[in-house]
């Protein structure tokens, strides 16, 4: 039973006091800074290899690890840091949420400014365990949806699809506006803008689909703060729930394990774990707030003897059964894929089959951020509702640059394999096909050949026949008519990208779909 929060006497609420500087807080801020730095440097910066593991937050994410393992039945050494996180959690408790998670840090930073009303009792209880069970069982039944609700994926998607492009747009428009005002005199400020452009801003103006949805999801998490502090972390986050399950049996304990009879302030200090008199072990995020604010210096974190199994949450059987059933059935609701979409569903290079890909992709958005030619965009319904936020190539907007393999380098699970460059150059994304109703030499008796010009294959996957024809006026004319060499074409999409026909690209890349009749 929870006591409704009410204050007869005016008390400065913890949520409105200035943040205390604990070791946890310092760690949070450092990790947030690290996260943002890694985000910004996930880009082509003059080298073919990306140095620092910009995807390290995802590789250390146990939710990614567990769902990957369940969905693909395999372990990848890429996710070894995630295993380490689990082991540390088993020892230290749910430290990740209080010391590392960038979304948690952001919530802590803004929560103080958000007016609180009463907590939503709807969210309390086992909802988060039902959600986690749903995700894990869905993964077990070959549908990996963990990425949709992973906190760091949510944050990166918000940054990549919404915030970063807008920040870039803001600065770029300012810069362009200066040119119409100052003309060449703007060159005085060139050094400053070049620095911004080379190191901080996106290189190219790109707007992404699902930008608004990414904003909405992030804003919804912030909105939840209206009801209680760390609402998402405490009542919804599947990563947090998973860590909480492990932390419930952790070696280190917070002592005392319940509110002191002569005080009870911890109920106010603690953002997550004191809904009742007894500390909820699976919710304690080790933020050390109680430790910093305790008037009597009673709070300690000590290794304690294992007291015997106590359940992490009630009605375990019901949660597991509901999770299993819904995990099995619910994803099938979203399994419809329109064939028209399937034939244009192009995945990043090296991806073998869509089925395998969807089991491993965590929809983190890193590949879309790093793509040097902005070929990758989040799918909405093209791969079925189940493929939301997974990367697809839209060649008319950006093609896969021949000598680049950055996406495979940043993928935290290897859903996009990290192929060495000479193998990546042979990876097939699809096949280009000419639409002779639009292609200029076929449709209008005009020479063009821009597609062939740009084909990066050294042997040229587009070749041409030189034919003598009469033009519409009867005059003799020599036309060069292109065709695709199918065994050479990798479907990189540069031909579709550069095709000068304005109404529709006369050559398009189609996915190689195996039709089952």
């Amino acid at each position: 039973m929870t006591r409704k929060v009410s204050n007869p006497e005016p008390v400065t609420r913890d949520s409105q006091r200035p943040l205390k500087i604990t070791t946890a807080r310092i760690s949070q801020l450092l990790f947030l800074a690290f996260f943002l730095v890694l985000f910004v440097i996930t880009d082509y910066r003059g080298q073919d290899e990306i140095s620092v593991a910009v995807n390290s937050f995802f590789r250390a994410d146990p939710l990614v690890l567990v769902s990957f393992f369940l969905a693909s039945g395999a372990f990848t050494w890429l996710l070894l840091p995630g295993l380490l996180t689990l082991i540390f959690t088993a020892v230290l408790g749910r430290f990740f949420c209080g010391w590392v998670c960038p979304l948690g840090t952001l919530l802590d930073l803004v929560s103080g400014r958000i007016r609180k009303t009463a907590p939503l009792l709807l969210l309390r209880g086992n909802l988060k365990y039902y959600l986690l069970a749903l995700l894990l069982f869905a993964a077990l039944f070959r549908m990996n949806l963990a990425g949709l609700m992973d906190p760091m994926a949510l944050l990166i998607r918000f940054l990549t699809f919404f915030l970063y492009p807008l920040v870039g747009y803001f600065f770029r428009q300012g810069w362009v506006g200066l040119y119409s005002l100052l003309g060449d005199h703007r060159d005085v400020l060139d050094g400053g803008y070049t620095f911004l452009r080379n190191y901080l801003l996106p290189f190219r103006e790109t707007f992404y689909p699902l930008a608004f949805l990414s904003l909405l999801l992030f804003a919804a998490i912030l909105f939840l703060e209206r009801y209680e502090r760390r609402n998402w972390c405490k009542n919804l986050c599947p990563l947090g729930s998973l860590l909480g399950l492990v932390a419930h049996f952790s070696i280190f304990r917070r002592l005392p394990a319940r509110l002191c009879t002569d005080c009870g302030d911890c109920k106010e200090h603690c953002p997550t774990a004191f809904d009742s008199e007894v500390l909820q072990k699976s919710n304690c995020i080790r933020c050390l707030e109680c430790h910093a604010r305790c008037r009597f210096n009673r709070v300690k974190f000590r290794p304690a003897m294992f007291k015997g199994p106590s359940p992490a949450f009630s009605s375990t059987r019901r949660v597991l059964l509901t999770g299993a059933l819904s995990g099995f059935l619910l994803p099938r609701l979203f399994a419809f894929k329109h064939p028209a979409n399937e034939s244009k569903l192009l995945r990043p290079p090296g991806v073998a089959g869509d089925d395998q890909f969807l089991r491993k992709c965590v929809r983190c958005g890193e590949c879309m951020k790093v793509c040097s030619r902005n070929a990758l965009y989040p799918a909405s319904l093209q791969a079925g509702l189940y493929g939301f936020f997974t990367p697809i190539v839209i060649p008319r907007l950006g093609y896969c640059e021949y000598n680049c393999n950055l996406c495979g380098q940043v993928c935290p699970t290897g859903a996009i394999p990290n192929l060495p460059l000479d193998e990546k150059k042979k990876a097939v994304l699809g096949l280009a096909v000419f639409d002779k109703n639009h292609c200029l030499p076929y449709a209008k008796k005009l020479n063009c050949m821009v597609c062939e010009e740009h084909c990066p294959i050294p042997d040229k996957a587009i070749r041409f026949e030189t034919v003598e024809e009469n033009d519409y006026a009867g005059k003799k004319l020599v036309l060069k008519k292109p065709y695709i060499v199918e065994n050479l074409c990798t479907g990189c999409g540069i031909c579709e990208y550069v095709c000068p026909v304005e109404e529709k690209a006369a050559v398009e890349v189609f996915a190689k779909v195996k039709r089952k009749i």
């Binding site: 082509y44 003059g46 000598n403 200029l440 020479n447 821009v450 084909c455």
Partner: protein
């Protein structure tokens, strides 16, 4: 005077007048300088000197645009882009002549950062004062009236239009549509918009642009040439190392000479023929003065 004598006087003065007019006001024949050697910096200097030295083209205080081919994401050995040492030497020569600023840019066909980086040109020019290698910016393209045969107007880069001197440094390559891409085609790098559009009438379009933007000096990079699968290349098998440079103030003559390096006659390249017909230069190499530097 007898009628016969009068007629003789008229006839001979007509002939004399004709001869005088044709030779006193005749155009100087175009000069094409060719240099060869393994030291690319040295052959760059010698080919410019053979035309009279850089001071003939660049005056103190000039803003010079040196326009290379940085259009493709290829390393220099693949002969898809202009050689960095050649570019560096030209920039240095311009500065020696007193140029206020040397601007180097191109509008690449591949990813712009990769194309610039892998061409090796920004690295070669790094740190040289008053030389700027920058990405081209959308807002600096100016809608320019061309009123040509194929193009009425097109977006051309303001920096190229406003420069005092425009030096074009193409690389000699195979090209499927035009058979070869040389000096006349290099000007595409200052064009914006949907450049693929002009391929339907590329000879006239290029002549239109070249009539609008004057190239003061063209130096064709034939240090290594791409003999097949151009303009993007990608196979070292298609690269032939020649260690040559061809310079001229006459873009058509330079192209005509460079065509010979591929074993093709200048009249077989339609771009060169059209450019000649439009008065942009001399295609007949017998009428051109050739200097071996």
């Amino acid at each position: 005077m007898k009628r016969r004598d009068f007629l003789k006087l008229c006839g001979s003065s007509l002939l004399a007048g004709n001869w005088l007019a044709r030779n006193l006001w005749a155009k100087e024949p175009s000069v094409v300088a060719v240099s060869e050697g393994k030291d690319y910096a040295q052959i760059t200097r010698s080919v410019i000197d053979a035309l009279g030295g850089i001071k003939r083209f660049v005056k103190a205080g000039d803003i010079v645009v040196v326009k290379p081919n940085m259009g493709w994401d290829r390393k220099p050995e693949f002969a898809a882009t202009t050689h960095p040492i050649v570019m560096k030497t030209i920039a240095e020569e311009c500065l020696k002549a007193g140029a206020k600023r040397v601007k180097v840019f191109d509008n690449p066909c591949n990813e712009p950062r990769r194309s610039y980086e892998n061409s090796g040109i920004p690295a070669a020019l790094k740190g040289i004062e008053n030389v700027e290698v920058k990405q081209m910016e959308e807002e600096r393209y100016k809608k320019t009236k061309i009123n040509g045969v194929a193009l009425k107007e097109w977006e051309l880069y303001a920096d190229a239009l406003s420069a005092n001197v425009f030096i074009s440094v193409p690389i000699a390559k195979h090209h499927s549509l035009t058979r070869l891409t040389l000096g006349c085609k290099n000007v595409m790098g200052i064009m914006g918009g949907n450049r693929g559009y002009i391929h339907r009438d590329i000879e006239e379009a290029l002549a239109d642009v070249n009539s609008t933007v004057k190239t003061h000096l063209v130096i064709v990079d034939a240090t290594r040439i791409l003999t097949n699968h151009g303009p993007s290349g990608g196979s070292l098998n298609d690269v032939k190392v020649l260690n040559k440079l061809i310079a001229s103030t006459d873009m058509v003559a330079a192209d005509a000479y460079a065509t010979g390096l591929f074993g093709i006659k200048p009249t077989e390249i339609s771009i060169t023929v059209t450019a000649h017909k439009r008065g942009l230069g001399e295609i007949d190499l017998t009428k051109v003065k050739l200097i071996k530097a």
